[in-house]
Amino acid sequence: MVSATVALAATAATVLAFTGVGLLASRGRVDSVETYVSARDSAGSGTLAATVIASMMGVWILFSPAESGAAFGGLPAVLGYAIGSAIPLALFVPVGARIREVMPAGHSLTEFAYARFGTGMYVFVLAVSVFYMFVFLAAEMTGIAGALAFVAGVPHWQTSLLVGGFVLLYTTYGGLLASIVTDTVQTLVILPLLAVGFAGALLSLGGAGDLHAAAVSADPVLLDPAFGPGLEFGLYVAFALLGANMLNQGVWQRVYAADGERSLRRGMGLAAVVVVPMLVLSGLFGIAAAGLSLTESGSASIAFFLVLAEAFPAWVTLAVVVLAVLLVMSSADTMFNAIASVVTADLARVLDAPDERTLWLGGRGLTVAVALGAIFIGAQGYSVLQLFLTADLLAAGVFVPFLAGLYTERLTGPGAIVSGLAGLAVGFAYFPTLRGLVAAIPGLGSALPTPSFLVAFAGATLVSAALTAAATALGDADADLETLGRDVRSLDDPVADGGSER
């Protein structure tokens, strides 16, 4: 086991180095709230790919895919997780191009929801999106605190405060620009570290042949691509990830940050491609852990780290600590800025012609508030799985009618809301996680069907999609998508606050 002092020193060195990168990269460049929240047209293909990879691949990739491989269905569960994570990114190629076409000067997904559907859908999308992003953030802080506690016995609060505090520092100063630059460098460290790390583990454990033999000997279904529970898990995770990621403001920001449609297409495409092998590798750690009987005590959630401890000397663990810290930093800075940007963009509309100073205070104040909340939750060591699943289900119900508004002029705001609520009603009826709460509603207890995550997530998505199609056919909204973006307020009055006037 690595000592807590050494692990904390490695963590501190990593966060300090990347805080320096973030501060230096954004120095003098963040001259308006517009740049702080949008970094519009600033990222080429490589930068966009790197920032999307870093933003989406948090420390969760060291936990969830490995756990799914070890405990939720072996190979098909891992493949479902991997492919399900890639689909939203691939979908953002056409959807992102459409977003830029419909609202070229936009900043956030809630801005679009308000302009296209009005207040009701705006509130719906705002609540679901911010809830999902905050849970993602809290899960990241909890994950890194748990990882350092496991490998080095570092108290949760120390890790949470150290990582969250420094990410807050450069994100508050440099906004989205700082996030994109640090993401780019982080991706260029994360990818080889992950590949070399897994190759080392594979060789240390005797090679692919030995690992295969161990997995088959321990439980043949681990490598069975047709294993039913694994397929079911893979399918419902794909539905869950689809909705949640389509409502991720961090990705919407990067759609606008691309310096053109070609960069958007290549950047999102590359990110979608690499997500699959990244998650497969992590998932194979879980299968390896199960094959080597390391997860017998019910510790599947830390399967990755169990294999690490088995395969490598303690000093290599330090490299993984650095990897984990990078994964968290790159996702946390995205979420800090994404949540702040949603509200900042809306402040410009909600407040009556706010001045630049008010918007700055809003943007930076919200970043601090979000960060403090996430640091606090990360220090508690809660299980956030139930919250994550709930956020995913909410997103599964709302994302289809929301995105349909990009393509049809007929769908009305009430039609979109009813479609979303109907999807959620079906989803919650089958949702195993909140069964007690739903059953407590008078008259519902005995009427609830057999719970199933697959039916809940697929049902929420497909029912909302079917009703969206019906509402579109029957609707007469006559929204003009050509002029939808003309009322978007620009946030780009230059000020000397963290940057210099041009």
């Binding site: 490589g46 780019t184 080889p192 590949a195 692919a208 042949g209 295969h212 069975d224």
Partner: protein
């Protein structure tokens, strides 16, 4: 079902999945490096 599946993913396929994933991650790493450097 298990026997059929094991035939589908034998040791060679397992090795190909593991090493292929490693190779693909490294290939995308190289592509991202190349693209990022091309932006400068």
């Amino acid at each position: 079902m298990t026997a059929l599946a094991l035939a589908a993913l034998g040791p060679t396929a397992f090795a190909a999945l593991a090493w292929g994933s490693i190779g693909l991650v490294l290939a995308v790493f190289a592509a991202v490096c190349w693209l990022v450097l091309g932006e400068r």
